[in-house]
Subunit: 178 residues, 2 copies
């Protein structure tokens, strides 16, 4: 049986930052860059910015997110030697289900819907590897966790870190060589 | 840690048969009873009835299904000593996501959305027990599978069978006593 990799969507396959940067600029009339919120989520910099997280509940929010660089190419490569499941904590956002499904079908048409998982608590996932930007998901995972770098997890050092999809590719090349 | 039970929705928590019986009668102008399709799915009795499975894709189909007798009461009881996850193979039906979510919120308000899972291939589920009406899901499950009786699985004998929620209650009482 091929080793199975569970891959998160937001901030791993889908880049949520450009959209939030635009929302931030529209709401507060000033530009914000990664440096301004490095070490946090973009909406956590000040108390009065926290409400922009609520835009995650808007119908359409997840439909037009940018694809993370190289994710399509690397995931397609990984499928040769691995079972790939997309595991996203969609349940908090009722309005995200169809958007996420359509986004995956559009940008990752080579993945089968049988391998999509919308969940809440990711401790329900059975896989060999998990690529995720949230340590809470890796903490409850029984396989090997890879922490995908995002602004809010840069101070974390308990998991193997990957900064981008090229590093994911390299990691699994090394695993295969073992 | 509490043992975890993964529970399927359709034909386990949600009774899909009364709706299909109505559709059958409307489409073919004749009543159909359980006896007529015992051993099969309701739409598998004749080649020309197979298309009514496609109604599963209709928006709203899963929103007003009847609740399986005693499921609310027994699941609430099981929550005392178990972690309950609802694991439904929703991914085939894009239009079912919001309906299933709303149905669960309406009829099982004591369950948290963190414990809902919409998936395709259930081999991704990590739990101690799985209650499901499809043997394919129990076959790929690494814990203990309970086969919930449905018209299409009556000839199956590889798994512990439960005919209704009272039997589910009894099964877990016996497990606890061990």
């Amino acid at each position: 049986m091929k080793p199975r990799i569970a891959i998160d969507m937001d901030e791993v396959m889908a880049d949520i930052e450009p959209k939030f940067q635009k929302i931030y600029e529209r709401e507060f009339g000033e530009k914000i860059t990664r440096d301004d919120y490095w070490g946090q989520k973009i909406y956590e910099t000040r108390d009065e910015t926290r409400y922009i997280r609520d835009f995650l509940h808007d119908k359409g929010f997840f439909r037009d997110l940018e694809v993370m660089p190289d994710s399509q190419e690397v995931i397609r490569e990984l499928m040769e030697d691995h079972e790939i499941f997309i595991t996203t904590a969609a349940m908090e956002f009722r309005s995200s289900f169809e958007d996420k499904y359509d986004w995956l079908q559009e940008h990752f048409p080579f993945l089968h819907w049988k391998n999509f998982v919308f969940c809440g608590d990711k401790s329900i996932i059975r896989a060999d590897y998990m690529i995720d930007d949230h340590v809470r998901n890796l903490e409850s995972f029984q396989g090997t966790g890879l922490l995908f770098t995002a602004s809010h997890n840069i101070h974390e050092d308990r998991f193997t870190r990957v900064d981008n999809w090229q590093q994911v590719r390299e990691y699994f090349k090394t695993q295969k060589a073992k």
